[in-house]
Every structure is written in structure tokens, then in C-alpha cells.
Symmetry: C2
Subunit: 563 residues, 2 copies
């Protein structure tokens, strides 16, 4: 019926999904997949877990062999086969055997490019090509790193870049007892969360003995040390580069496919490139952010799989939807989990999107149950629209749940009101009756209605320096255990009898442990006619973590009496 | 400014939330809460966890004392104070001191009823009032049970009713080594999941040495045994009644508030009863199901809290939304978690809603990671609309996440298409790249588009009996380890070479382990022009569990060679 010849360039998430989808839609198609590496299908996101031994056998990361593709799906998967040229007029590709160098020409009806993205390795860094400098893209890479670390009794490793891959390498090498240094060019790790939440991650890295160096970059690699832009030298017998990836566009560009503003291959709504019958999917393309409506790149597994599926559906005349991406991600880092979706506050500012954000710190389950732990949850929303724009969550429990719920709301164009009334699963075993996302939305609703004022914990240091009037609304025993040096302790349980201690002629800032008690006090004082009462969002729990890393790593004076 | 006098009848979720909200909106209000029991605020959902000792001190389940309400919120919380009468013309209530019997009259501007629901205790059961028969509503009850079990060295307990409370009692007493019998009147436990999924719960109970008796009821209680409708006698020195709750409407009815068709207090969109200035919230009222548009009752914590908040908002002239409820719930049961939201297939049938359902069984995280376990996920959706109507999930990992995402989709009127493209958090630590809900939606899309046929595992036994042609698409070693007695083993990896073994003149049913391989084979055979090829939804993984409990507890012949 169809008898199409479909050629797929690149395996893994995008390529393998495209090939399998083509087979499911068309038993008559001839489907061939060319992969330049030795493995056509592996879990690239699982690679770092080999470094800790959590995945003892690196070969197990390989999900499907060419033989399995052949037997199960009748898909021809050819490894060590690099597509080096495309003749889009003749509709042929040139395939090079990477082991023999032999070239052959193969024709196609439809060509799907899924070349992925490659680690950035700036040649300006001296020694970048040394044998002790590594990057991570495939099973071969991770085996090579592991072998080098073992063969050379490496005790000190420097990881360059504090994104997801860099942190996953840190997390896994952290289990092996090596001395680790993480170097990040920006002022905080993880571009997918805001600066205040990143401080919680910095603290976690610090607490796990990782030497974290921010706002610095690699200049030179030696056998046993590296040198940074700042002039610092760091002991390291191995260096893992994880400063980012760049779309692998060489083949597409050579063929004449238009390259987009972000440096990724430009595609239309159906993932067609600018050349007929050539599609592109995965990390190499540029996509549209649903929220900013701007072009972006998103190197994530599931979007790649859906793009591949949709491209093939289009080949077979099926209508597809392409609403753009929002980006949802999560990382496990020692005993913390960090998840996020949509836009950060920083991204809103960059895109000039008027917004507000709230931070709440509910417990992961009912306080009377054992092993409860706090969830730090930030909800970002449009102002005055109330449109949900993004969220970030950090905690010991699986904060992926909260972020997945908010990601769902974002993709459905949900409003703060939709989140306040959302009925989620509850049992004391799993959560609090008011779920964390409900609580965040309830606070957000107050901000949206301009019912009360708040200030971020990032402003507390300057408030202290300016001598602002700060009330600590916790009980005296909590205050005694540690507090903001200049704060006055007026517990929620006492303030109605101590109103004369609260000034009316200057701004008053209130915090407690997690903002719940301070919120009640702010509302009551507003009600009583006080002007200029402000809640400190995030309260003491976030403030401690926010100040910690900088207090420990610089000589500055702490604004807290204790931790 | 306001100086309203607000009287709240009943504490806990609804009452305490109403009182606290009133205080936050109005510092001038006089807020009084009357609770007939000794505790005004406790985590009722946490009560069963005292029986296992997970919560060692039952008093810790009390969240707030009257003193704390007074000091923190300036709320007058009076315990052991039962409101016994309402004069809605004079706007007064009569309060009885339950310890002295003394009565007093209190006036109100606004009255909020939050009386809750009480355990059903049919007086027709002989011995129902014996001292060894218990129900669970408050801290006093749970202390009393615990004391009785210890003081009397109880070794055998019967739990009557397989709903959430009954199962949570089973789960907690199960940790103490007692002999447990669970008696359920229906043919399966948990009305919030369908029969097929309930079999997985039955197996779990059976595997944990719980004597599960279905379709039977309690007739008589003795000191050391109980007698059932069937005539069976069961050894039990203590009986815990958990067959359901009934709304506590006596006070409202006496005052003349209209009672709805479901037996709950009737309220309008703003939670006003039929009498001016009397509101009702929580387990005692009837609400509207967003999906069926029918009146219903929903005894869950968060809806009660939101109703309370909304009622108070309405008192203060704030607009509220009331879209109706969907019901989302989760239970931890030994090593399994069971969660659900929206409508079951059974509920769709009952409400004559044309629907389809799919069951998928993905792993909770990437297969190369350690400690993976399957998630049984059923997605129910409208046909031909594709509107998402409900979901059920069972697994060792936290299936609350999948259900929360689908609950969010339902409340936003999401369509199957919205779920296929949903971007959720992914890392091998947390999930598979194609998240379980994505996978369910992708299969649902095929059903919605009438692209392939499926049959539920509940039909397999009759297929076997009728001698249907069933293909087991797994590899020979999997087939050897256990299979459907009458199935033919044609692995996905071999079928293209063995097409001549597949009949064209009769229906063919295909399954594998989790439906992934069989799905691919079905699609290929459809493509090759075969008619009447049907996938067995749920496949071997669900079938084993589905058949297990009945195979073990009856004398019927198994349709499986092994487990």
C-alpha cells in the first residue's frame, strides 16, 4: 500500500522512536536507521548512574540491539554508520562506515534527522584534548571515564558546568568518595531554577563536601590540576566537561536546511525542515516555548520522542498538534530532589512578562506521621492575569509530583483559581490534606488580589543592614534556637496583647518558620488598620538555607545568630 | 467594621477551616466553634496509624487545642459542647455541656454547620452495641480500640467493610501480627476502583495473610466469634465497623434545613442551606459531581476545607467558584499504593456515559535502574469525545503522582490529546522518559481513533473456555515460566516468519507481558490485512494478579500454568 523508504539519521530517543512509529503505521515501509556510534538505542539519561555503580554494567544501559530492532520491528539499524552527506534533489544520503571509511549511497522517500546535540568543548581551553578530559554523550564515553578513574586511581575530579549532567556526575561520583570540585560560570547552578532556590542546592552540595566554585571558568588542564579564569588552581586528575550541548547541525546545514536563530535546525509545525521530505527532531532542532512564544532549544527525552512520533504521523497524513514546549525537569542530588517546570522568575524578567511569585514550605505529609520533611515550592504566575507560568520545588520527598501537577496546569492554561480548588489524592501517608500546590495557590491568590504584601528572603540582608523593623512571629523557644540578629520576637500567640510594640510609623516585616504564622499575623494587622505590613516570603526555613552557603564560603558576617 | 458574630458547629477539617478563614478575613469578628467531643482539631485521616504504633501517642493526632485557637487566632473553641437546637428566626443556638447537661443559648449572625458524618452501625446486627464492637471517628475511639486490644490480649480481629477506613485499619493492624478477617458486602473492596483492579488489592491482602470474605455481611457478634449472612462463623474477639458513614444531619433537619436526595444537607452554590444565614460544609452536605452532574456525597478532607473557606468568603461578599467535585483518593496498603480519581468504568456504566478504558503497565522508572516496579494504570475516557473521565493506579511506587496529574487534567476538562503531549519531569531516578500517563494516553488515542481492538483481562477466562486462538507474544523463556494454558507462543521477534501459524478465519487474541509487544504485533497484523486481531489489555502481568485471588480461594481450575 505505501512501500515508503524511510531513512532515519541517529538512534536513541528521537531516531528510534521515529523508526518504531513508522513501523507501527506501515508494515510495508522499509525503515533504516543509521547511527554513527556503536549503540543505536540506549538510555542516555542513565549514563551518569554508571559512575556510582548504581548501574554496575554499562552495557545494560543499551536498551535495544540492532538484532532486536530487526527481529521485533523489522527495522534495519546500522551502527558505526555515519550519514555524511545528503543529496536532497536525488533524495539520497551518503553513509560512511566509521570503521572502514567506506562510503555508499542510499536513497530515501522520507528522511528524518535526529542527530542530537554534542557537548561543548571550547578549544580555547588549554589541554581540552588531553586524555584526562572527558565529556558524556554515550555508553562508550561513560565506560572510558570509569576505566580512566579506576586505572589511574583518580582521587580528585573537577566537573565543569552545574547543569543537569554536571550535577548528576557530581551526585554519582559523590558516592565513590572522590574529592569533587564543581565549577560554574554563572552565579548559581541549574539555569532552570531561580537564584534563591539555587542557594538550597549550593548548601546541599557544600554539605556533601563538594567544592563549589561559582562565577569562574576553566582555562587550562594539566595532569594533576586545572587553572581557572580567576587564577585559582584546583587539584584534579580528571576533568568532566558539562558546560552545555550544541545542536549537531553540520549535516543538515551542509544539505542546505535552514538553521534557526537559536542555532538549532529550523522546522515548521510538522517538524519539516526547509527542504521537502527532510524532517528533523530532537535535541538538534529549535522549538517554540509555549509561554514566551519565543524559539528555544530543549534537550529533553520525552519531547524528542513526541517530535519523532509527530513527524512520522505527518508523513502518513495524520494531523498533529504542536502547542510548543514548556520544559519540565527533575534531578536527584544526594538526599535532595530538585524539579521545575515552565518559566522561572528570571526567565519572566528576561522576557518582560509581568509576574509574581510565592514560596511556601509545607511538609510532605501530615506532621503527626514519622519522617516528614519540608517541600520548598515556588509558584510563578502572571500578573494581573493569574495565569500559571512556572514552578520550582526542592525537597527530600519526591517533589516531581508537585511539579508534574503544575506542569499539567500550565499546559492546560490553568489559572491560580484552578489550582486552589484542585482535588488531589490525600492520605496522611502521602501528603497534607491541603496539598503543597493548593497551599501555594492560596497564597498566590492573595498576592493576585493585592491582599497583602510580601518580600523575598533575598532582600532580608539589606533589610537587616538598613535596620528595618523585623518581627519573628515564632515561639520564644524557636527564636532562642536561632534568629535574624536584628529581629524582635513577638509570637503570633502573643501579638494581640503586644500591639503597642509594633510601630505604626515605619514598615514592619514579619516572618516565622514557614510563613504560615506570619501570614496570619500580617492579615490581622492589615485588618486592624496597620499600613505597610509585609510578610517575608519563605520565612526562616528558606532564609537559613539561602544565607548558609555564602556565609560558609565567604568572610561575610552572618545575619543569623545560629543555624 | 464588621463585628459579625460567627458560630461554627463542629471542629476538625470543615469547622476549624471556617473559623480560621473568618479570622483571617475579619479581625473584628467574634468567632466561636462548638465541638461535642473533647477535641476540636485533629487529623481524623491519621487515626488508623495509631493502631500500628506508627503514631505512638494518640494525643499527637490532636493538631490544635482550644488554648492554641484562642492565643493564635482569637477563636473561642468550646469542646464537649453540643449544639442541640437552632432557632433560625431568633438566630440563636442552644448549646449543651455534654458533661453537665447544662444548656445555654447563644446568638449568631452567621451559622456554619460542619457536623461531619458518623459511622453506620446497623442496629439489626445482634451484639452491635457489645463492648468489643468499635467504630472510628475520633481520638477517643482510637484510644479505646487500642486499649481494648491490649487489655484483652486480642489475637483475632474482624474488620467489617473494605472501604478506605476498613483497609487502613487492616494495614495498620497487619503490622501487629494479629489474625485479620475483612468482610465486604460487595464483590470487591474499594468502590473507587473497578473490579479488575480490585483483584490486585485482593491478592495483596491475601499475600499479607488477611482472610478476605466478599459478598457477605455481619449478622451477629459474640465475645469470641462473629456470624455472617452466609452462616459462616469467624473467630474474632474484636470487631471494627467500617461499612460506611452517614451524614450527621439531625441538627440541620430539626432546624428545618432541606435534606437532599442523597441524604446530605442540601446547599446552593455558595454552601448556603435552605435557611438564610445558615451554611453547611464538609461530610454532612451533598455536592455535585463535576463529571456526572449528579448530586453526591464526598467525605474527603480537602473538599471540606475548601467548602469551609468558600462559605466564609461568601459571608464576606467574595465571589467563589464551585465547579463540583471529582473525588481523588489514595491509600497505602502493605507494600502497595492504590489511587484513583474521577469516574470508574462501573460509574460510567451506572451513569450511562459512553466510555472506553485502557490499562497499561509501565515500570515506575527506567528499567536499567535498580528497584523498578510496575505501575498498573487504567485511564477511563469518554467516547467519542476523548474527554478524560477517570483513572486508577496501583503499584509499589507512589502512584499518587500519576493520579494527581490525571486529576488535574480532568478538572481542566483535558482531552486524551492533551495527555499524550504532556511534558512531565523525567530523570531515570524518577520515571520513564515516556511517563506512565503519556503511555496510557497514547494507547487511548489508538482506541479513540478505532485503530485497534482490545479486550479486558476479565474476558480471558471465557476466551479460554471457548477455545479462542490466543497468541502469547513473549519470548520462549517467559512462556516457559508460566502462560495461559491454551495459548500459542509466537514471539514478536518471530511472528513475521511464522505468519502461516496465525489463522485468518477466526478471531485472534494477543498478549505479552505488559501489552507493549502485543500492541506492536496487533498493529503489524492489522497492517498486513488480518481482520479481527485483538489485543488483550493488561496482558500477562495483570492477568496473573486478576486470576490469583479467586484461584487461591475457590476450587476452580486455573487458566494459567504457573504464577
Amino acid at each position: 500500500m505505501f512501500n515508503k523508504k524511510i531513512v532515519v539519521v541517529g538512534g536513541v530517543g528521537g531516531g528510534a522512536s521515529a523508526a518504531a512509529r513508522a513501523r507501527r503505521l506501515d508494515e510495508s515501509a522499509e525503515v533504516t536507521m543509521y547511527e554513527k556510534g556503536p549503540d543505536v538505542s540506549f538510555s542516555n539519561c542513565s549514563l551518569p548512574y554508571h559512575l556510582s555503580g548504581l548501574i554496575p554494567d554499562a552495557n545494560s544501559i543499551i536498551l535495544k540491539t540492532p538484532e532486536q530492532f530487526k527481529k521485533q520491528y523489522n527495522i534495519q539499524a546500522e551502527v558505526n554508520s555515519e550519514v555524511v552527506d545528503i543529496d536532497s534533489k536525488q533524495k539520497t544520503v551518503q553513509v560512511k562506515d566509521t570503521q572502514t571509511g567506506a562510503l555508499r549511497t542510499v536513497n530515501y522517500d522520507e528522511l528524518i534527522l535526529s542527530p542530537g546535540a554534542k557537548p561543548v568543548m571550547p578549544q580555547i581551553i588549554k589541554g581540552i584534548d588531553n586524555k584526562n578530559v572527558f565529556s558524556i554523550r554515550n555508553v562508550v564515553d561513560i565506560k572510558r571515564i570509569q576505566k580512566y578513574l579506576v586505572d589511574n586511581d583518580v582521587t580528585d575530579v573537577a566537573v565543569i558546568g552545574g547543569g543537569f549532567i554536571g550535577l548528576e556526575v557530581i551526585e554519582n561520583l559523590g558516592q565513590t568518595g572522590k574529592n569533587l570540585t564543581l565549577i560554574e560560570m554563572a552565579d548559581h547552578v541549574l539555569g532552570t531554577i531561580d537564584d534563591d532556590f539555587a542557594q538550597l542546592v549550593h548548601k546541599n552540595l557544600y554539605d556533601n563536601d563538594v567544592n563549589v566554585i561559582l562565577e569562574d571558568g576553566l582555562v587550562e588542564v594539566d595532569d594533576d590540576q586545572i587553572r581557572l579564569v580567576s587564577g585559582k588552581t584546583i587539584k584534579a586528575q580528571a576533568v568532566i566537561m558539562a558546560i552545555g550541548v550544541t545542536p549537531d547541525i553540520a549535516l543538515a546545514a551542509k544539505a542546505g536546511c535552514k538553521i534557526g536563530v537559536t542555532g538549532g535546525i529550523e522546522v515548521n509545525q510538522q517538524y519539516e525542515t526547509s527542504i521537502p521530505d527532510i524532517y528533523a527532531v530532537g535535541d538538534a532542532i529549535e522549538v517554540t516555548n509555549m509561554l514566551t512564544r519565543q524559539k528555544t532549544r530543549l534537550a529533553l527525552a520525552y519531547p524528542a520522542q513526541m517530535e519523532a512520533r509527530d513527524a512520522v504521523d505527518h508523513i502518513y497524513g495524520r494531523p498533529i498538534q504542536n502547542k510548543g514546549v514548556i520544559g519540565s525537569q527533575v534531578i536527584h542530588l544526594f538526599d535532595l530532589n530538585v524539579a521545575s517546570t515552565g518559566l522561572t522568575e528570571a526567565a519572566c524578567e528576561e522576557n518582560q512578562i509581568e509576574h509574581r511569585a510565592v514560596t511556601v514550605i509545607p511538609q510532605n505529609r501530615v506532621s503527626v506521621m514519622p519522617d516528614t520533611s519540608p517541600i520548598f515550592l515556588k509558584l510563578v504566575f502572571g500578573y494581573p492575569s493569574g495565569e500559571i507560568l512556572g514552578a520550582q520545588a526542592i525537597g527530600k520527598s519526591g517533589v516531581d509530583k508537585q511539579i508534574d501537577v503544575i506542569a499539567t496546569m500550565i499546559s492546560m492554561h490553568g489559572h491560580i483559581d484552578d489550582l486552589t480548588h484542585l482535588e488531589l489524592c490525600y492520605s496522611p501517608w502521602f501528603s497534607t490534606a491541603k496539598n503543597a500546590v493548593n497551599i501555594a495557590a492560596l497564597v498566590a491568590e492573595n498576592i493576585l488580589n493585592d491582599e497583602y504584601q510580601q518580600v523575598s528572603i533575598s532582600k532580608v540582608r539589606s533589610l537587616v543592614e538598613k535596620g528595618a523593623f523585623i518581627i519573628d512571629a515564632r515561639e520564644p523557644n524557636e527564636y532562642a534556637a536561632g534568629h535574624i540578629t536584628t529581629s524582635v520576637n513577638i509570637p503570633l500567640s502573643q501579638f494581640r496583647q503586644r500591639l503597642d510594640e509594633i510601630p505604626t510609623d515605619r514598615p514592619v516585616y514579619i516572618h516565622c518558620q514557614s510563613s504560615q504564622r506570619s501570614y496570619n499575623m500580617v492579615r490581622a494587622l492589615d485588618n486592624l488598620g496597620y499600613k505597610n505590613i509585609t510578610n517575608i516570603s519563605g520565612s526562616y526555613l528558606e532564609l537559613m538555607q539561602y544565607e548558609y552557603f555564602k556565609d560558609q564560603t565567604t568572610n561575610r558576617e552572618s545575619i543569623l545568630t545560629n543555624y
